[in-house]
Subunit: 562 residues, 2 copies
Amino acid sequence: MKRVHKITYPSSEKMYVGGKIHEIGVAMRRVALTDTVSATGEVTKNASVMVYDTSGPYSDPAVEVDITRGLGRLRSEWIERRGDTEQLGEFSSEYCRARLADSSLDAIRFPVANLPRRAREGVAITQMAYARRGIVTPEMEYVAIRENLQNEELGIETHITPEFVRDEIAAGRAVLPANINHPEAEPMIIGSKFLVKINTNIGNSALSSGIDEEVEKAIRSCKWGGDTLMDLSTGDNIHETREWIVRNTPVPVGTVPLYQALEKVDGRIADLTWEIYRDTLIEQCEQGVDYFTIHAGLLRAHLPLTAGRVTGIVSRGGSIIANWMTVHGAENLFYTRFREICEILARYDVAVSLGDGLRPGSIADANDAAQMAELSVLGELTLIAWEYGVGVLIEGPGHVPMHKIGANMEAELAQCHGAPFYTLGPLVTDIAPGYDHITSAIGAAQIAWGGTAMICYVTPKEHLALPDGEDVRAGVVAYKIAAHAADVAKGHPGAQVRDDALSRARFDFRWRDQFNLSLDPERALEYYKAGRLGDESDHCTMCGPNFCAMKLTHQLRDCAAE
Amino acid sequence: MKRVHKITYPSSEKMYVGGKIHEIGVAMRRVALTDTVSATGEVTKNASVMVYDTSGPYSDPAVEVDITRGLGRLRSEWIERRGDTEQLGEFSSEYCRARLADSSLDAIRFPVANLPRRAREGVAITQMAYARRGIVTPEMEYVAIRENLQNEELGIETHITPEFVRDEIAAGRAVLPANINHPEAEPMIIGSKFLVKINTNIGNSALSSGIDEEVEKAIRSCKWGGDTLMDLSTGDNIHETREWIVRNTPVPVGTVPLYQALEKVDGRIADLTWEIYRDTLIEQCEQGVDYFTIHAGLLRAHLPLTAGRVTGIVSRGGSIIANWMTVHGAENLFYTRFREICEILARYDVAVSLGDGLRPGSIADANDAAQMAELSVLGELTLIAWEYGVGVLIEGPGHVPMHKIGANMEAELAQCHGAPFYTLGPLVTDIAPGYDHITSAIGAAQIAWGGTAMICYVTPKEHLALPDGEDVRAGVVAYKIAAHAADVAKGHPGAQVRDDALSRARFDFRWRDQFNLSLDPERALEYYKAGRLGDESDHCTMCGPNFCAMKLTHQLRDCAAE
């Protein structure tokens, strides 16, 4: 196992911007640029550019991250200082205690043990609860600064203040996932009035992938720009794998607890009980998972609506709970137990991501009655979760042709009381397996422009196999493109600063600056080098020396200046 | 040199569908599907699916294409039978004659010589001219059948009849590029009421790439689905390279004649004259180029409008003509000579693609006064070209953020009298060099949905280097996705048939059918195989055996059936 991991970006400095309300240091990356030198030798300085940084301590040269020890516990002090939580003497989950007691697992166990925290009885400790009480937490100030990058420095007007963050969270229009047992995570926010976020999925299955590989994927996701990370493991040792991931991930971590609950009954859906599921929720809350996908909106009455579908139910969680309902002749237990679920989540500040078990798996099934019926139940559940101060994300499709994307966003807004929408793509056609990071980035950009707050990445391997590290990179970059394109289209304050700086570098033939400002500097440099046949500081292989439009424009401007 | 080239697609049969008006055989590809077998052993046949086929004779098992001999001359008879053109005794272009006489070029010369045809004096022989006279040519019937695929067989209502094709061409709303000297090309149509088309760019530069490699790229483009091909060569032996490409390409070929004209004066822009350009036009008309990009709309008055731009002029042709105007203190010669240009083009049925020399090269420059001023001149020129019966495409941007894409389409419609729009992307952000096939596919899908008739691909190497064969594949597939997504969103008759068939195959675990119906069967199969660890006919590595949503849906349906 490689213990020490580092993330580096070219010409980049790790910065920590201080707060005004709280003593915090908000991580950012400052990309230094070279000077512009005109034909006459005149030198103009180019201001450095701040970029949003999801890489956590991995990219801090002053920190050595040893994954066998985990990341620093950034938020511990903030949490403790509030005095509304207590450290428990042991883990509350039976399963967790059994795993800890099992010495055969010592070899794969994360080496450092931390006891969990939980809200004191009767105290509301969620970011939503604080926001409603008018409190601006360090987490809220952190995200306000983080979202603005260098807007203040550049004099760019912004609507995003710590108080605005608070108000959006209080209203449920934004979620700040921040389990008190994941103090390693840097605060971030998901809401339509903030930067569009992207989620990446990793996780092993019964058929592949070890712990090392999953931690490696998590770090890669953070390197390329993943804002949150879902661990969708379904194989062996889910508990231990997750511990390694959570302890080493500086972004919020999500899961689908149902997957682990089902593994606990060896995949026998009929054997799944509320007790097992409940214990799994507590296990994961105490480990530090920041949000749970729960398929609580899929009801028995919806099942007949899927009968005529081209691709039936394509959500794993949805199909499991559909089978459970059918076998037991009972209503969805996540629906019937939803208040109990919220009570648990609230004690750790875990958010709920209401799963769309009936999302369309083909464009033929998009926006059908099944999908819309479930969405309306997600709206009901949103209000219940909010009663408990639990933040809510609403999951969305899936496969949707372009002309039906708008209606999804409208329906979500109409039914779900402004809770942030969190979509998987959508894929705008079904005909491109092997390229679904692209089919889905097209849909993701559109729906994010329309107001979707977070888009869940799709990798080139979607529909075909589990992604490897390079697939994670391809998926993350495709989704950073979609998210950023949406930020620009929405007019997010300062979003275009990076585009403009990169384009100026391009026009000046400051190749390295151009690459350093790009989403994937390594890839850009690699392609550039492969195309170089000599020294070509003022043109490239694309056009050759006689045909470089930018070179000719420079000549034209020089000519006009004379 | 590899002489014999074949294109194969799995489980596919090359079909030729007969005409009702003319004796024609319209090439299509029929993908055979396997049967669906239910859990109880019930067998259901799945109908084969026709897909649009750009691969020409390369995929016909009955034909052996030897690239040293070129493709069969499909349209020769149709052209000759019309009796309105004549075969010339020699090439009209001085330059062409000099190249033919130069024995030092024998080694790289295409081995077969064909004398050119030209319209008889005073006779209008363009598809547009025929359409206006009410004639449905074999070319028009060909595209009508081609666009419909199996709509008739499936009982899908369609607006696309041979007469509709004729009327759209007559009105200028569609272009059927069909140089009488490129009889190898299979007829296709570009217009907003037809399938969205994609163009690919290939071509060497002074710094790279031989003839072999360019022919190889052309064939790859046709294999993956490129509808037209632009040869943007700027290096040595442009004439000979193009001859190889045109003789071996079953789709219309476009060029920017200015590039070659400039090479003829060794890149000295000041030395460029009308006489050299005119001779180049005739040279290329007689070689069989189907459409020319001509930057005739960029006027002297527009140059000051670019002074404040972030990236100046990024069109090669635009920057050349801008410099020419500045050096000569003269108006754009393509503008002043536009009627003479149209006279030449009309005699060979070459269409004009009015270049957007002032397209924005960064999102900061999108939709600016320079861009819009040029677009309005393109509108004027459109009416002039139509006087001569010359088909017109209007080229569009470029780099445009999503919220400004709609305005581009609207401006084109308002200014250019319904002539088809043909855009390069647009790229919706500047920050992803190395991934610009994705940034631009997002914009291309949107603008094509809005009515753009053809989208020009961008490869991952854009801004960095010339594309190689794999980049051509990545670019073409990304653009096929964008075009198809737009076809579906526009409700093109029958467009969704392929999506639905693929999704049914996916739901049935008919993996091979799924891949065979996809845009890139080889890539899909490659990823699938890499993810297989055993026999998994009814689930995949993504979910593992306990978590396959589709498998569970099947169980659910079986359960409901009992």
